[in-house]
Amino acid sequence: MIRLWLVAFASCASAPAVPVPVRPTPLSVQVSLPATGLSEAERTTHALNRLAFGPSGGDRQRIAAMGLEAWLSEQLTPGVDPAMDERLSGFKTLDLSVAEALREFPRPDQRLKAMGVDPGSPAGQEAARRLVKESPEELPRQLLIELTQAKLLRAATSKRQLEEVLVDFWFNHFNVSAEKNRVRWMVNAYEREAIRPHVFGRFRELLGATAKHPAMLWYLDNWMSVRDGFELPPAFRKSLGDDAGPPRALGLNENYARELLELHTVGVNAGYTQADVREAARALTGWGLELRQRQRDFARFEFHRLAHDDGPKRVFGLELPAGLGQDDGERLLDHLARHPATARHLATKLCQRLVSEQPPPALVDRVAATFLRTDGDLTATYLAVIESPEFWSPANVGTLTRTPLEFVVGAVRTVGTLDEVQRPLAAVLDQLGQPLYRCPPPTGYPEHGAHWISAGALVSRINFGLRLATGRIPGVEVALPPKDTPVDVLARDVLGRPASASTIATVERALRQDDDVDERRGPQVAKVVGLLLGSPEFQKQ
């Protein structure tokens, strides 16, 4: 199939698309916070819980030194973080293009084929086993290992905490999964090129960058969506090998168009019909990829004019006259990015992530209005949330369930510092049901907390907290308070707010029981911290 496309598109590719210029981030954003019933310390904890991956000693100190409003302003216009860049420079794969990743990290069987070895023969299988055993760091899985490590490092240690929260939010919004065959080689470039540069920019640019990225084109099949009746030049059919079977029917694939409407922009209840989905898919026919392996821009976005349906279309209120070519898709994205239903859909999701699972309708209305008024300026949209009284309302503090990622990284930031990400840390996210970059459905992970809470996941969270606090997660440098610290002080430090009386009583009772057994050990700080990390209160932020 791939070969078939390769030859077909070699003949009909147009000039490469001009990259969309990224809007420069404003130099500074003034943040002024509303009056709130929260104390200074509570405000800091709340800001770090929602706009960062939980409180860390270092970030608490920075906020104390510079003031919360200045810190928020810095977070909205993050500058460079040389310390972070330095730490990431040790990774080999983070800067690879899709073409380089495919070339340098082939599957073992592809590597053998390139060496002239039949990977199906007994000798080939033995050679493949040797490759896996002797050079595991050259296998495709290395791409995902490094990307996962980098994500955890950034979440735990970057000064640009809000950027990391937003990259996580928007990646999840425009989800792609490394589990879908070739996406594994594309997911790193996707986050680096399509998501990260745009999280403080305009929504239209973010949307366009995802629409044209090979990871999305591949994940939601748009690369193979062509106008009905499109036929490959007969001369190329001959080149199909036996094992590829007879040529398959080609035509429209609605997968991306449907998710574009349902998930990425206007939302499932916006009132579009199946006919709109089909028309949107027609508008996006020919939005594909450079599939010639030898080309330098292999696997980059290409508009294939011959595969495009150039008839007139009508999509969800938008008229597209015949003959627009690639502009069909561009105008469709313009239309959707500025639609009031999109503003509402995005404002709701953003408020669910940052404020409350059931965000106050008045807040959603204001955030959506800001989005529309500023033509989808995302920084202005975040500011509308952060400056709202609802964000700082005591009623919304400590009410969101931490996702596994927020729990794991939050726990690490609470007890110490992350020196390096080793396997056990990444593995715990798999156990907790949030394998990074491998969420299969296009919906991404849900924004409601009940999804994450099950009996099995709780036991895993409890055990992770105990292992972490007792120094059994390699790569994490644990720095605990002095051993005579009272339980209520420890609880306030770990939870970021005073613990309930029953929690303190329960933990103290557990300590007394232990003292009966071994009086020399005194108050066991690590044990108390472990119990607190696994407590129901720490599962909330």
Binding site: D109, D118, P119, G120, S121, P122, G124, Q125, A128, S177, E179, K180, N181, G241, D242, D243, G245, P246, R248, T401, D430, Q431, G433, P440, P441, G449, A450, I453, S454, A455, G456, A457, L458, V459, I462, N463, L466, R467, S500, S502, T503, T506, V507, R509, A510, Q513, D514, K527, G530, L531, G534, S535, P536, E537, Q539, K540
Partner: protein, 384 residues
Amino acid sequence: MISRRRLLQSLAVFGAAPVFAEPPRAKKTLVVVFLRGGVDGLAMAPPMGDRDYAALRTTTRVKGLRLDDTFGLHPAMAALLPLYASKQLAVVHATGLPVSPRSHFEAQDFLESGTPGRRAAEGWLNRAGRDLPKSAFSMVAVQNTLPVSLAGDSSALAFPSLRDFRVLGGDAAATTFEALYESAVDEALRTSGHEAFDFLERAKHEGLADRPAQHGAQWPKTALARRLQDITRLIHADVGLSIAATEAGGFDTHLGQGAETGQLANRLKEVADALAAFAQDLGPRLADVTLLTMTEFGRTAKENGTRGTDHGTASASLVLGGGVAGGRVLTRWPGLAASALRDGRDLEPTTDLRAVMSECLDSVGIRTRDVFPDFAPVKLGLFG
């Protein structure tokens, strides 16, 4: 507040029988084994009597143990022959979903959702478990994370093994966490905590993880066998297990698949030996159990250029249990002639796998209404 744990401990001291507020227990259990990667049904149950089979396969052609005039069983699965002979095992062939993409992840999601062509918010087993008594034991997955088939609103528990599913730090830590979660403000946390500690206490009290094999079963030392043994422990312990799921992988045999021996043969032997030990261990309790194997798709009818097979459509499923009208290969065999193959390359699914799944649910007394939306199963008669 006296926790159940402490109540249990004090009762144990006085030699009294433990008292539980028992939900009504399920008597019957459905066990679903998902074989991930796409099992080659034409190797697991080779259609030796199909005149086109030999021409399609060269290095991957299997000479099976005779099941009937058309089909054999892969010789690596010989351990299952006695169960076939005693009519407790049936093979369903040329089965799959009518819409089957060739991507693993989509095909698995569609099948585990029970909704061909789309992914549902809930898995088919979760929907099936809606009306089961609320208990930490009613739906269990013995694997690292909850599979899509069990995900959804009804609560289900996943753990990698009974032995490893515990709170570190021993009983004291567990007691503390139980008390912390009993007073949790958040309802989801309180409920899940209750289920978790309920399960852990029962598992510990009954020594579930250490229960020895029954009826002389010899369990092989494979991951699948360990998981299935944990499931038999739960069945023997009568803890109310209605639905259990587990999985095995390694069936994506694009390269060097092998025939009577080789890569696929090794995987199939693991499955067969584990299933045979499962039946042996259950002994008479097999009457209350149905076990179903499934896979996301079969493989291409024709061998590929690397001595393997590529992603196809229909495959074969095994159904094992006391109530099975077994000793047969149930199929509406479409044949392997070029004109009969889907897209000219795959075995056509002539039996909708949802009909098999429905009858398996039915066989353990679980209501199947609404489990498969927009689907009216035809009666296969798998259970006589």
